[in-house]
């Protein structure tokens, strides 16, 4: 398990309490945080929606299957899935190896871009995981 100081939390992203991250510039990418992938352990399967599917903020849009469990993924903001990361089909371990880069999950078209302001910044998210650890 990573020590709190080893958990990477990029300043440029915003975070939901369920450990998804979202980028603030288009394409609005969504993934899971370094903390989440470390807790879940090796990801063995990523279930993602079809492009075009729309979800409300907080709604389940897919799941991450790790060696330990099957965990739901929640969209951080209202939006429509514009693209999914096809590489995860063959290489789900990218979520572990590079959670903010090659391990991204979906790109979304935001219905209400102002919702991004409701998400946590890096400092707030670090405090949030401090309360969960």
């Amino acid at each position: 398990m990573k020590k709190p100081a080893e958990i990477v939390i990029p300043e440029t992203l915003r975070y939901a309490k369920d450990h998804e991250w979202m980028s603030l510039i288009a394409p609005f990418r969504v993934g899971v945080s370094d903390f989440a992938q470390d807790q879940l352990g090796d990801i063995t399967y990523v279930e993602l929606p079809e492009p075009g599917a729309a979800f409300a903020a907080g709604q389940e849009f897919g799941s991450l299957e790790s060696i330990k469990s099957v965990s739901p993924l929640y969209l951080p903001a209202d939006g429509k899935v514009a693209a999914i990361n096809e590489r995860l089909r063959d290489d789900p371990g990218l979520v572990n190896q590079d959670p903010y880069g090659a391990g991204w999950l979906v790109e979304i078209e935001l219905f209400r871009p102002e919702q991004a302001a409701l998400l946590m910044d890096a400092a707030a998210y670090r405090r949030h995981i401090g309360t969960e650890a």
């Binding site: 398990m1 990573k2 470390d38 807790q39 352990g41 090796d42 063995t44 399967y45 279930e47 799941s63 299957e65 060696i67 330990k68 469990s69 099957v70 739901p72 371990g93 572990n96």
Partner: protein
């Protein structure tokens, strides 16, 4: 989840933390789930080279005295009239209803002296169960004065690693088949030592389906022995392994987890009938009378079968339905992904198969055990359904091929 402050820690806790282990509560102990390499690489290491597990959370107790053998013969599902010195036996302790109290490995140490290795926290439960049986009066049942440590070295490279570590390997290995052991639980008296002087009991057993050893040793020698086995194994790719890899390895090897795959229902109609004292005439009758025997009817009791899926996807076993053509059949006892296997033209192939196609890499298959209301033929397709998804699986006779557990020592 129990409060972390009440969890017990093994002698290697500091090693686990230093190795970056992801720790979790298991049966009252704070145990490694996986280390930095992750559970998938740990699982594959045991298939392809070797893995080292801290299994000191397991319990040991002793039964001794003139009444010990008759008591165990009545309480344990194996026929002790067939005991051979130096050979351990896997079996189960059942209650009056034929339900499983726990599974165990029994080590005969002398005509009136036995050691029994049971699951974590189960020593007091099983000894209390035994003390309640008729004729337990004259039998001395006790846990060790000082707890023992236990390390499992598993995988095809483990004989070569142990060869370096143990004193007199050539003599020992010459006659050490599957389920044999050398030494004594009175470790000093047993006369088997590692080259670093550590007295051990060496058992050719394990819980992974791969060739390997369980090593019992004094707690104060755990750190040094863990380090030296890690050093001897470094070149062959040995990895420290946690409980997650142990669970996926044992499932692929068709081994049950006590209190999950066997438990409070009759110990019958399952893949582990070798652990019952069945007569070889096909009559489903027993070679001895034993506790729980009268409840073990093949008719009227649920059936446990191994299954394998067609890809690595799983369902959440809690509350998952098992469906046969839409009919609810029972429940999922265990479901894991064995990441060393995949299917080629529907046939399960292991990464350990020497004839696997060049460049082929398995993506893993879901597998486990279902408990259903009637007998099913192997090849029967079932649907497992949880709140999120449905997956198709089939009843199988075996899960991971090319296992090495029973292989002769080189």
């Amino acid at each position: 989840m129990p409060d972390a402050s009440t969890l017990r820690r093994t002698a290697l806790y500091a090693r686990h933390a230093a190795l970056g282990a992801n720790l979790a509560a298991f049966a009252g102990w704070e145990m490694p789930l996986w280390y930095r390499a992750g559970a998938v690489r740990e699982h594959l290491a045991v298939i392809q080279s070797a893995g080292l597990f801290d299994t000191s959370h397991m319990d040991v107790f002793f039964a001794s005295g003139p009444g010990a053998k008759p008591l165990l013969d009545y309480a344990f599902t194996r026929d002790l009239s067939r005991i051979r010195p130096g050979r351990a036996l896997y079996g189960a302790f059942l209650d009056r209803d034929g339900h499983t109290v726990d599974d165990a490995i029994l080590y005969p140490l002398g005509p009136d002296r036995f050691a029994v290795v049971v699951n974590a926290g189960m020593g007091p439960v099983v000894t209390a169960h035994l003390k309640g049986l008729p004729d337990a009066g004259g039998v001395d049942l006790r846990e060790p004065d000082r707890r023992l440590g236990k390390l499992d070295l598993q995988g095809p490279a483990s004989p070569a690693i142990l060869w370096e570590a143990v004193d007199g390997a050539d003599r020992l290995f010459a006659d050490m088949p599957y389920f044999s052991f050398a030494g004594d639980f009175d470790l000093e008296a047993g006369g088997i030592r590692l080259r670093n002087g550590t007295p051990i009991l060496l058992s050719r057993t394990g819980y992974t389906g791969e060739i390997g050893f369980e090593i019992f040793l004094p707690l104060d020698r755990m750190d040094e022995t863990w380090d030296s086995l890690s050093r001897f194994g470094a070149e062959s790719g040995l990895l420290p392994c946690g409980l997650a890899a142990r669970d996926s390895l044992r499932t692929g090897a068709l081994l049950p987890l006590s209190h999950q795959d066997i438990g409070p229902w009759p110990y019958v109609n399952h893949p582990w009938l070798f652990a019952l004292p069945l007569k070889k005439d096909g009559s489903f009758s027993f070679t001895k009378d034993f506790m729980g025997a009268s409840a073990l009817h093949p008719e009227g009791n649920p059936h446990t079968f191994p299954f394998a899926g067609f890809d690595q996807r799983r369902v959440d076993p809690r509350g998952a339905k098992v469906l046969l053509n839409g009919e609810e059949m029972g429940d999922v006892l265990t479901i894991v992904s064995d990441m060393a296997i995949g299917r080629i033209d529907d046939v399960i192939v292991s990464l350990a198969d020497p004839n696997r196609p060049e460049g082929w890499a398995p993506r893993g298959l879901s597998c486990g055990f279902v408990r259903v209301k009637r007998r099913l033929e192997s090849g029967t397709k079932l649907v497992l359904q949880d709140a999120r998804r449905k997956i198709e699986v089939e009843i199988v006779k075996s899960i991971r091929p090319n296992r090495t557990a029973t292989r002769r020592l080189p």
